[in-house]
Structures are given as C-alpha cells and as structure tokens.
C-alpha cells in the first residue's frame, strides 16, 4: 500500500488534533500500521517490575475489559480494620471545627515526656507508689530526662541527681530501675528512635539509618546577591555600631575628665579659701610658675589651610585619643570653621581677600561626615602629610582656594603661638603685612571728603570695606581741602563699597594741620583715594562718565557684579605697589585707550607695562561700552555711534587688541595675576598656575567659558578675511549657554582639540570675566542668522585661532571683527543671559 510508504511526521504537541469517533472512520484500520511512528513513552516504572505478573495481568485485564476485574487486581497483603479496643484507648469525641484547622507554629512543642511507660514500668511505679509519692507521668519525666541526659553511656547516679529534681531516695530507686532496664534493652535507648548517622560517616550503608542531614545545600545560586548585600549591610552595621561604641567611650572619658576638672577646681578653691587667697595672688603666682609648661588644651585648634584637615581615619587608634583625655572639652568642628576665614588670608598666596561667595567655606554633607571624630591636636599635622584624594578635591567647596598638597612637599602646622598674620599688621611685628592694608588716610569720592585713617579690606562679593580708625586728627582730616589732592578721578567705590563707618566723634583736634598736610603731600603719609575705574577720556569728562555708570547700573543684576568685581580688582590688583602711586600707569592706560587709532603702535611699545589692573580697567570699559552699544541698536560693521565715544568700533578694536596684549603679558606676569585670579571664582577654577586644572563642576563651565573667547578670536580673524567664517563662529557657539560647551565640542569636533589647545594658551585672557560674558552673549545670538557651517571654514577658523593664540601681539586685526560681532548682536541684555554669563565668569 502506498499509504505506508511514507513516514509519519513527528507528533507536534502544539498542533491541533481533530477528534474522531471510530465509527466515522471505517478505513482507519488501514492506517493503523503506521501508528508506531509515534514514539512509545516509558511507563516510568522500573523495567523489571513492569513485567511483574500481577501488573501485566491487571494491565491486560484493563485493556481487555476496559476496567479492572476484582480477581485481576494486584494482590496486596491484607489489612484488618477491626481493632476491638480502639474505642476504648482513643479518647472520645472530637468535634470538627467549623473553620479549617490552622495550626499555630510551636504549639506542638508541648512539654510532654517522650518516654511512654509500659506495663513493666507500671508494675514498678505501682510498687514504688506504696512507699513514695510518684505518678506515672512523673516517672516518665524522670526516665525521659535520664535517657536524654545519656549518650552512649548512661548517666551516673550523681549526674542523675543533678538531672532530676526529685528527692534522693526516689531518684535512686528510679535510677536503679532505669539502669537495669536499659541494660536489658536491645536498643540504644529506652525511647526508641530512628538511628542517626554517625559523625564519621561510617553509617552510610546502615539501612536503619535514616533522615540524614543534607550536607550540601540544594540551592546555592539563588539569593546569592541578596546574601552579599546583606553581608555588606551587616558589616556596615557592625562598623557603625563599633563607632558608636568608640564615641560613647570617648564621651565617657570626657565626662570623667570634666568631673575631675570640677573636683580639682573645687579643691583649688577650697585650698585657696583655706589659705585665704581671696585676691588670687597666690594662684597667679603659682600659675606664673607653671607657665612654661603649656597645657595641651591651651593650643587653639586652627586648621591648616586645607579645607578638610580633619578627615576621619578609619584606622584610628585609641592612643590618638589619649591627648584628648587631658582636654576637658572637645573642640567641635564648627568652631574650627568659624575661625577659618580669619586664618585663610595668611595662606592665600598673599591675597587677603576672600571675595566671591562661592569661595567662602561652605559646609556640605561630606565635610560633616568627616567629623565623625573630633580629632586631636596632633592630627592636622599628620594628616596634612597623608594627602587627600582626587575625588575630595573635586568636591571641595573651597574650589580653587582649596589647599592642595604637592607631592614631595612637607607641610608644617601653622605657628599657632603667634597672633594672626593679618595683612595689616606690619612686618615689623613679624607679619607679612602689606603697607596698603595698613591704616592710611582715605578720601572718598562721594561725598568728597577725607575720612581720616582707614584700612581696606574686601568683603563679600568684592565689596570694599573700610575700617576706620579713630585718631586725634579726625577733625582736621575732615576739613582737609580736597583740592589739595590733584585727583580728578571719581570713585565708584562709594556706590558699592560698604564703608564700615562708625560715627566717630567729631571732636576736632586742630593740631598742626599744616604739618599734616605737608606730610601727606610729601607722601610721608599714605593717602588712599579711590579712583574711577572707567576713565576713558583724558579730558576727564565727568559727566559722560557718570552717565555711563548709570547705564551700567541699569543693565541688570549681573552688571553690578561685574562692577564689583572690577572695583575689587582695582583695589587689590596692583599688589606690591601702592595704589595711589599707580596713577601713572593708569594714565598710560587712558592714553592707550584714548588714542585708539594708533593702537598698533601702542602694542609694540607699551604692552610690557600692562598689568592686571590695567587690563581689568580696560575690560570694564569694554563692558560699559558694550552696554552702551546695546542701548543703541547697532547694525553690522563698526559704524559711527551717537554716543560720547565717537569711534566706538575703533575703541573696541583697540580694546580687544589690548586684551590680546594683556594675554601675552599676563602669561609672563602670571604671578602678578594670581591675586586677580583668586578673586574670580569660576575662571579661577581653571587653575592657579595657568594650567588647566579645572576642579569638579567647573570643568565644563571652564571649557564653555574659554571656548567662546577662542571662537571669537577665530571668527574675528576670519571675518577680517572672509565673510564665510562668520557662520562658523555661530554654530560653534550656539544658543543656550549651558549647552555651549557641548555645542562646541559637538559642532567642531574636528577643531575642538585645537580649540582646547588654544584655551590652554588663552587661559588668561579667557578668564577675564567681562570678555567672557560679552563673547558668550554674542555667541548666543548669532545662531539665529546661521545654519550650516562649512567644515573647511571651521578648520580655517581653527588654524587662525592657533595663530591668534601664538601671536597675540600681532593680532590687532582680529580685534576688529570681534568688535563687529559685538555690535552686530541685538539687544540681548535680558537678565537670564546676564546671570548665565555671570555663572561662567
């Protein structure tokens, strides 16, 4: 039959099988022969048993008859179910509860003896009962204890007496009975129990050993993760608890010490009282004798400049706390921090100011964590040597002001026995004091008057604070003729600086006024006159100046910041030279600024003399002009403006070249710039030494803040040559500021590296706050006009950029286009922009 020639397919469990009645398929039999294609499933029985007689018979019977016949069932040994005494021995009725039975865990462990008394025992107990008081249950309990107390060997009578609570005689009786019975017993115990495995494993083959413990865990891979996690948690918990223990220990010691101190003080008081030392003479005498021996706790804890000198040491040993034992009071970390601002100036590379708020020490959680243990006095030193990790530096709230250890350097603890190294204390006293911070005559611009002796310091946000000192000459000073001083500058300080004027007495001591004047004039007395930072006209057009200022002030929140910045720079940047003596250099600047037209000549000749201060001034001016420009809407290219400055484009051009020059000079005089950098928190993040070592969060910002500058340079140089390059600039510095850095890297992937290289070189110029803000603002608004950038243009830009960086002196050209950009941007001074810009700076 052809039907049989093919092989049946494998049975597919997921394929529907139609169900037929056999009657419907009369020809089924013809197909039956290929049914064997379905593989036979094993029965699951042991093969040998499968063929057992009765089973086979039952199976065949079932197949034949469709059901089992009674005589075809598998015979099993008989069972009886007619135990007559069942009713009597099993207790009576048990009512079925309505609810499903739910057993309480551990409710099964009723304390009942496992031993069951048998008839032999019963006879004995009954006999014993006549003489002593014993119940069957009591007997069972005794036997139970004896059995369970025995191992291979039965317990001795002595042990039995310990095990049992009954009186000795009863114990002896029962014990003897038990020993006798146990000897006759065939099993190892009177309480029959299933044989346990022996520890040595020799019982492996004993068929009577059952219920062996499973030595291997069945499942080990599950929950492993969990276990690990919980293990770690346990470790942590343990550590924390041990810490708590240590802390408590320390507290205990402290309290003990306190008590001791109290007792001692009390004792001293008593002694003094007894001695009659009411005036304290004796005590002071004694104290004077004791003076050389300095008590440990007299040393004030002043942290080294490192912001985190008190790191918790994991392996802290108790001996480190021994120092503390002498100390009655543990100095708390907070206190240390309070001291810190005062201490810092001495270490901040000669810069006394902690200007920016961000640079102020801030508590953060991490710092607090480090104070798990108040550390001992010795610790700061030891830890200074220990070095801090990179990560900590990144999180350092002090940012650029953080003290960073250098490898190979050894740091000593501060000289704490000396008073603070305040900048105003004179070197004669052994301080590093700077003359300009000492009290000197001070004249304010608005209102124009001499306020007498004052010293400056920089407060928060760059405010200049004037600490006034009272002198006998105050009155005289007030009357000093301002015209005497040839200054025509107008100080902005009055607007921003908080003079900490305390109303000093108006008592006038008209002493030798002329003498004083002579002294002042001959510069024997220093005289501080705040000067106007933004002088742009040699003819001292006061009006325009003021006007400008007003404009500046109007521009929004950011602007004052900039102003403050610059002013503070003014006040301090000319480190080393007395401020009022820098008039000449200022003059020079003005000259430069004013004679913008011949900027090129200026570059060559005078830039060596550039200082940070000058540059700052220039920048400020730049900013001012920019604001002005914003006020008046400009188109492209440098057009004539209707402002006081006739040739703004040129001015700005010059300014830019100036900035470039400054960059060059700054590189040389980076040392000088240190103070300047310190002030500008973000840009300072770039690195103290002019190296790119942005810390933490600032990294990105730094990149973004610097690149725009570079880009501006690029674009400017390129616009000088071709208009094509303008677009390139735009894409690179696209819309929002935060995205700027990304954009730069993304858009100009080909050139980024170059740009970064530029940044490194241009670090100093780019770090100038104002420049940055301006350029970023510029950049932000450019994208509107632009879309696609030719990569060639980009490359060109990069190339030119390089050039710019390398030869800043010759790049007066690129100053012009850059200014063009500035002018080209529309009014962009919304506050948000400004804020962002400020963030960058």
């Amino acid at each position: 039959m052809s039907k049989l020639s093919f092989r049946a397919r494998a049975l597919d469990a997921s394929k529907p099988l139609p169900v037929f009645r056999c009657e419907d398929l009369p020809d089924l039999a013809e197909y039956a022969s290929i049914n064997r294609a379905v593989p036979q499933m094993p029965t699951g029985m042991e093969k040998e048993e499968e063929s057992e007689h009765h089973l086979q018979r039952a199976i065949s019977a079932q197949q034949v008859y469709g059901e089992k016949r009674d005589n075809m069932v598998i015979p099993v040994p008989e069972a009886e179910s007619n135990i007559a005494y069942y009713e009597s021995i099993y207790p009576g009725e048990f009512k079925m509860p309505k609810q499903l039975i739910h057993i309480q865990p551990f409710s099964l462990d009723a304390e009942q003896p496992d031993y069951d008394l048998d008839s032999e025992d019963e006879i004995f107990v009954n006999k014993l009962k006549k003489r002593m008081d014993i119940s069957p249950l009591q007997f069972e309990e005794m036997i139970d204890r004896l059995e369970k107390g025995s191992g291979q060997q039965p317990v001795s009578l002595q042990e039995a007496k310990l095990l049992l609570k009954e009186d000795d005689e009863l114990i002896r009786e029962v014990y003897e009975y038990w020993i006798k019975k146990r000897k006759n017993c065939r099993g190892p115990s009177l309480i029959p129990a299933v044989k346990q495995e022996k520890r040595d494993g020799s019982s492996t083959n004993d068929p009577y050993v059952a219920f062996r413990r499973r030595t291997e865990k069945m499942q080990t891979r599950k929950n492993r993760k969990n276990d690990e996690a919980s293990y770690e948690k346990m470790l942590k918990l343990r550590r924390d608890l041990s810490r708590a223990v240590t802390i408590l220990e320390m507290i205990k010691r402290r309290e003990k010490s306190k008590r001791e101190l109290l007792h001692l003080t009390l004792e001293i008081m008593e002694k003094r009282y007894n001695l009659g030392d009411y005036s304290g003479e004796i005590v002071s005498e004694v104290m004077a004798q004791r003076q050389p021996i300095k008590p440990t706790y007299a040393i004030p804890i002043i942290p080294v400049t490192n912001s985190s000198p008190f790191k918790h040491q994991e392996a802290m040993e108790l001996k480190e706390f021994k120092v503390k034992q002498d100390k009655p009071d543990v100095i708390r970390p907070k206190r240390k921090y309070e001291k810190k601002p005062k201490v810092l100036p001495s270490s901040a590379a000669g810069t006394p100011q902690q200007t920016s708020p961000a640079a102020l020490p801030v508590f953060n959680a991490k710092d607090l964590n480090q104070y798990d243990f108040p550390s001992s006095d010795e610790e700061p030193l030891s830890q200074v040597l220990s070095g801090s990790s990179e990560a900590e530096e990144e999180n350092d709230p002090d940012g650029p002001f953080a003290f960073r250890r250098k490898a190979g350097c050894q740091y000593y603890a501060p000289h704490l026995d000396q008073p603070g190294n305040w900048p105003w204390s004179s070197p004669k006293e052994g301080r590093l004091g700077d003359v300009r911070y000492r009290y000197c005559l001070t004249t304010l611009t608005v209102p124009q008057k001499c306020i007498g002796f004052a010293r400056r310091r920089v407060g928060r946000g760059g405010r200049v604070l004037l600490d006034r000192a009272h002198s006998d000459y105050d009155n005289t000073f007030h009357q000093l003729d301002l015209e005497m001083f040839s200054s025509s500058q107008h100080s902005s300080i009055s607007q921003f600086a908080n003079t900490s004027e305390t109303n000093t007495s108006d008592k006038s001591f008209s002493k030798d006024l002329s003498q004083i004047l002579v002294n002042i004039k001959s510069c024997r007395w220093r005289h501080f006159r705040p000067r106007t930072p933004s002088l742009h006209d040699s003819d001292n057009d006061e009006l325009s100046c003021r006007k400008l200022y007003r404009g500046v002030n109007r521009t929004g929140t950011a602007q004052p910041g900039t102003q403050t910045c610059s002013t503070s720079i003014q006040s301090k940047s000319s480190s080393g030279s007395a401020h009022f003596e820098s008039e000449t250099s200022l003059g020079l600047v003005h000259q430069i600024l004013n004679h913008t037209d011949d900027s090129k000549s200026l570059q060559s000749s005078e830039f060596t003399a550039f200082t940070a201060e000058q540059y700052q001034q220039h920048q400020q001016q730049l900013a001012l002009m920019q604001k002005q420009q914003l006020a008046q809407i400009h188109q492209q290219q440098a057009n004539s403006n209707s402002s006081a400055n006739t040739s703004q484009g040129f001015v700005s051009k010059t300014l830019d070249s100036v900035s470039a020059q400054f960059a060059a000079s700054a590189l040389v005089t980076s040392e000088q710039l240190m103070g300047f950098k310190m002030k500008d928190d973000v840009v300072l993040g770039i690195g103290v030494n002019g190296i790119l070592q942005a810390s933490g969060v600032y990294k990105g910002l730094h990149l973004s803040s610097t690149t725009p500058t570079a880009l501006v340079h690029t674009s400017s140089s390129s616009t000088a040559g071709s208009a094509l390059l303008q677009p390139s600039n735009i894409t690179q510095t696209s819309s929002s500021h935060s995205a700027l850095s990304h954009q730069v890297t993304a858009a100009s992937s080909a050139t980024t590296q170059v740009l970064i290289g530029n940044n490194i070189r241009l670090t100093v110029p780019s770090s100038v706050a104002t420049v940055n803000s301006i350029t970023t603002l510029n950049a932000r608004h450019i994208p509107r006009t632009l879309s696609a950038v030719p990569s060639s243009a980009l490359k060109l830009a990069a190339a030119t950029n390089c050039q710019v960086a390398k030869v800043p002196a010759s790049s007066s050209v690129d100053a012009v286009p850059r200014e063009n950009h500035e002018t080209e941007k529309p009014a962009l001074n919304n506050i948000a922009d400004n804020t962002v810009a400020m963030e960058v700076t």
Binding site: V19, K68, P75, F94, P192, M218
Partner: protein, 513 residues
C-alpha cells in the same frame, strides 16, 4: 531431593502459594533468608515475577524440595565478599522468558526488541559448584562498578542478552543496576572477567550517597538483603492492623515485635499497647499537625512542612516506607511538603493517605511519594490524592508529573487518572462551526496540569492517537467511551476546587526550605 538443611539463601524452588482465587500455585521463589525459631526453620521467600510485597516467611512444608536450584553462582574468591545478591542473577532472564511466552504484553511493544531470551537461560542448577555457601554478604560492593560497566557497554549494540538494552536505556531509574546485577555472573563466566574484577576492586571506594533531590531512590547501590526483606510484621494504626509490604527503618529494636503500635494522629511508634495508651493520655492531636487546606464532607487535606514539623514528617515517612518500595529515607524531610488526606469521624481526622511534594522541583515533579494506606485502597482515594495533587499544580499554574519510578499500583492509578481526565476533556469537546472538534496536546496539558509527556503516553496507551491521511488524529472507540462512562459512574469521590484554600509559596525566595 534436597534436604531442608541444604536449602539456603539464594536457592530457588517452587513454593506453594494461594492465589486470589484461592487456588494453590507453585510459583518459583527465591530463598532470601532462613531463620530458626524454636527448632522450626522459616524461609523468607520472594516469588519470582511477583511483587516484593508478597514476599513472606514460609515453613518448609510449602517448599517443593524436589526442584531446588542451588544458588546460581559459585562464590567467587572466598576472601572477598563472597558473591553477589543471593539468587538474583538469573531472575531477569527467566522473567523475560516468562513475559515473552506466557504474558505477551498487551500494550504497545517496548522500545527494545523484546528478546525472547535466546541465549542460555543461565546455567542449569547443577552448574554451580554444588556447595551451597550461604551468602549473607550484600551486593553493594559490586553494584556501582558493574552498573557502570553495563551502562557503558550497550552503547555498542550487544545482541545477546535481551535485558541489557532496557537497562541501558533507562540507566537512571534503577533498572540498569538491576540488570547489571544480573549480568556479571554470566559475564564473568564468559570472558571479560579479569578487567571487570579489577576495576571493581579499585574503583569501589566508599559508596556514594544517593542524590539529594526527590524522595524515590533511583540509585539502589545501598540496596541490600536487609532492605529487601520486610522487617515489621504488623503495624497497628488506629483501628487498623497493617501488614507492611516492604522494609522500613523503624528503630531496629522494634522490628522484633509482633506488633508495632502507632498513634494514629501523630504516628509516633511505641512497642506496646500500654505505651500507646500512655502516649494517648499525653497526645492531644486529633488531626495531622498541619494546616487544613481542603475540606469537603469528611475529606480533608492537611499541609505539613517537612522542615517545621520534623517528627511527624519522619513518622509519616517511616509508615509510608512500609508500603513504598522505592521510597528512600536516606535524607531528612526538609525539602518536602506533605499533604495528608484524612477522613473525619467523631474520633478525629484519620489519615487515609498522603503524598509528598518537593518544595522546589527541578524536574516538574508535583508528587514525590504517594500512598493510600492499605485499609483504604481500592476505594478511589488514590485517585482523589492524585486529583488533589493536580489541583495544587493548577493553582501553581504549572504542569506536573509524579516522581519516577512508579510502582505497579502507582502506574495503574496514574494511568487510570490520566485516562479518565483526558477522556473527560475529549468527550466534552464540542464541534465548532460544523468542524470537527480539535485540541492540541499542549491544551490538554494546560487544562489538566498533566505534563505533556504523560498526556502523550496516555493517548498512546489508550490507543487514541492515529495517523490518518497525513495527520495525527484522536479517535474515540466505542469501547473506550463506554468503559470511560462506566468508570466515571463509579468515581464518586472528586476534588472540589472551590474547597481548596491554598496559596503556593515561592520556596526559592526563602533561604531554606
């Protein structure tokens, strides 16, 4: 004619046995043990091709001393353990002959060619040395290696002994070992003796412990003469007296007792009725010490955790072992849950049967051991237990299968349950839209929680699968339908899923069972 004294362990001879129809038979039996009680000799006989549960102590009157076959094997090097399992060697050969001849199995033919045992059916009785050396020593020394040898060898088809192939095909379920045990005798005689011996002696180290999963032993290397014999004569449980079928590791000192007394609620064993009475004054259990998860009418199910309630679980296992040949009590009960079926009467909840179940089964087992106590057998309780086990699997959303090997009764019960369950579904199928009703095997499996393989084997066993015109179909013959309907009429005890209050636990999430 042999003397009674010459009849020793390992001898085979016809033994008188009364069958179910009260007829006398003289089936061949093997003497497993001889004991002497007050001058009278008793022989423990195993009827060949009958289940071990029918083994019994007989007096010499029932032995047909005319036809004694001496122990098959001459004791090998006497210094060594002396031999192998008494008498087993030729059993298989004979059996296969018997099966082939007298009992042509009605089911589909086994996979291996059912060799009619062509080769020498073992040496004739006389071939042995003739000296009847009592062989007490167990086989276990030889088993592992022999087994290994045997399992390996059939890789190349060995034509001669018919038993080897099945042994080789199912090495995991113990038959391999059995067959292997049978083999070496002949083998030794034939050729490969030397190497065989050597490898045995060298590799036979400490016997390995059985696997730790499951409740049924598949590796019976620990099987020895002790475990082949019933050791408890009678167990009194509640109102019942049970005759154990197999060995159970109750404390050895209790095996000599005529009756072992068990508390029917906590299953604690005692050696005397007085002990039981005393115990009953202290034991206040009236039901198995677990949570009742099912109750309908008088039938209840209790769930017992083998880890939380060790003593009950162990006592239950000891009792169950009396009726389950392949159950192993080698390891503790921790990884098991025990579902005890009880029947209520005013005295309490009386145990009827139980099944154990691994908390986590790696092989889809939903039952490890299952037992209806003998007094309740043949009354539908077994099927009820099985049905309940599948109800649990349905709640768990899994398919399941009983752990192997099945016993003869287990196979019959399961087949019966599977058949009825599947037929119930097939006959309930309605034609849709004029088309033939159809169903996939997977669907059946999903509906019933019966594992796919079991569905297929049942369909085959019932001869329902047919290959017809290029596709498989299911055919229901009239006989099948009628038989099923009759059987279902008798099946009154059913599990009512609504009465089940069961939430499966995810045991893998717990550290231990």
């Amino acid at each position: 004619m042999a003397e009674v004294g010459e009849v020793s362990e390992g001898c085979r001879l016809p033994v008188l046995r009364r069958n179910q129809d009260n007829e006398d038979e003289w089936p061949l039996a093997e003497i497993l043990s001889v004991k002497d009680i007050s001058g009278r000799k008793l022989f423990y006989v195993h009827y060949i091709d009958f289940n071990k549960r029918l083994d019994e102590w007989v007096t010499q009157e029932r032995l047909d001393l005319q036809r004694v076959q001496g122990p098959r094997r001459e004791p090998r090097t006497p210094g060594k353990n002396g031999g192998s399992r008494p008498g087993s060697p030729d059993r298989d050969t004979r059996k296969s002959q018997d099966v082939a001849t007298t009992l042509s199995p009605p089911g589909p033919p086994p996979v291996s060619p059912p060799g009619p045992a062509p080769v020498s059916p073992g040496p004739p009785p006389g071939t042995g040395t003739g000296t009847l050396v009592p062989l007490h020593v167990t086989l276990r020394w030889h088993l592992p290696t022999k087994r290994k040898v045997e399992v390996v060898s059939p890789a190349t088809p060995v034509p001669t002994p018919s038993e080897t192939s099945p042994a080789a095909l199912f090495p995991q379920n113990g038959s391999a070992r059995r067959a292997a045990a049978a083999q070496p005798g002949r083998k030794r005689k034939s050729a490969c003796l030397g190497t065989d011996e050597d490898s045995q002696d060298s590799s036979d180290g400490a016997p390995s412990a059985p696997r730790m999963t499951g409740s049924l032993v598949s590796d019976r290397s620990h099987d020895d003469i002790v475990t082949r014999m019933k050791n408890i004569e009678c167990i009194e449980l509640g109102r019942h007296r049970l005759k154990p079928w197999y060995f159970s590791p109750y404390p050895q000192e209790l095996t000599a007792l005529p009756v072992l007394y068990l508390c029917e609620f906590c299953l604690k064993y005692g050696h005397s009725l007085r002990c039981l009475q005393r115990h009953l004054t202290k034991c206040d259990l009236r039901h198995p010490p677990g949570n009742e998860i099912y109750r309908k009418g008088t039938i209840s199910f209790f769930e017992i955790d083998g880890r939380k309630n060790k003593s009950y679980s162990q006592n239950l296992c000891l009792l169950a072992k009396c009726f389950l040949d392949h159950k192993t009590l080698y390891y503790d009960t921790d990884p098991f849950l025990f579902y005890v079926m009880t029947e209520y009467d005013p005295k309490g909840f009386h145990i009827v049967g139980y099944f154990s179940k691994e908390k986590e089964s790696t092989e889809d087992y939903n039952v490890a051991c299952i037992l209806t106590l003998p007094p309740y057998q043949r009354r539908g309780y077994g099927k009820l237990l099985i049905e309940f086990s599948y109800e649990l699997s349905k709640v768990e959303g899994k398919t399941g299968t009983p752990e192997k090997p099945l016993s003869d009764l287990g196979l019959l019960s399961y087949r019966s349950y599977w058949s009825q369950t599947i037929l119930e579904i097939l006959m309930g199928l309605k034609a849709e839209g004029g088309e033939r009703p159809q169903i996939t095997i997977n669907e059946i499996s999903e509906i019933t929680s019966i594992k796919k393989e079991d569905v297929i084997s049942t369909l085959q066993y019932l001869n329902l699968i047919n290959y017809y015109k290029g596709q498989y179909i299911l055919t229901l013959s009239e006989d099948i339908v009628e038989g099923h309907e009759r059987a279902m009429l008798k099946r009154v005890l059913r599990i009512d899923a609504k009465c089940l209050h069961f939430t499966p636990k995810d045991w893998s999430k717990r550290g231990k069972w």
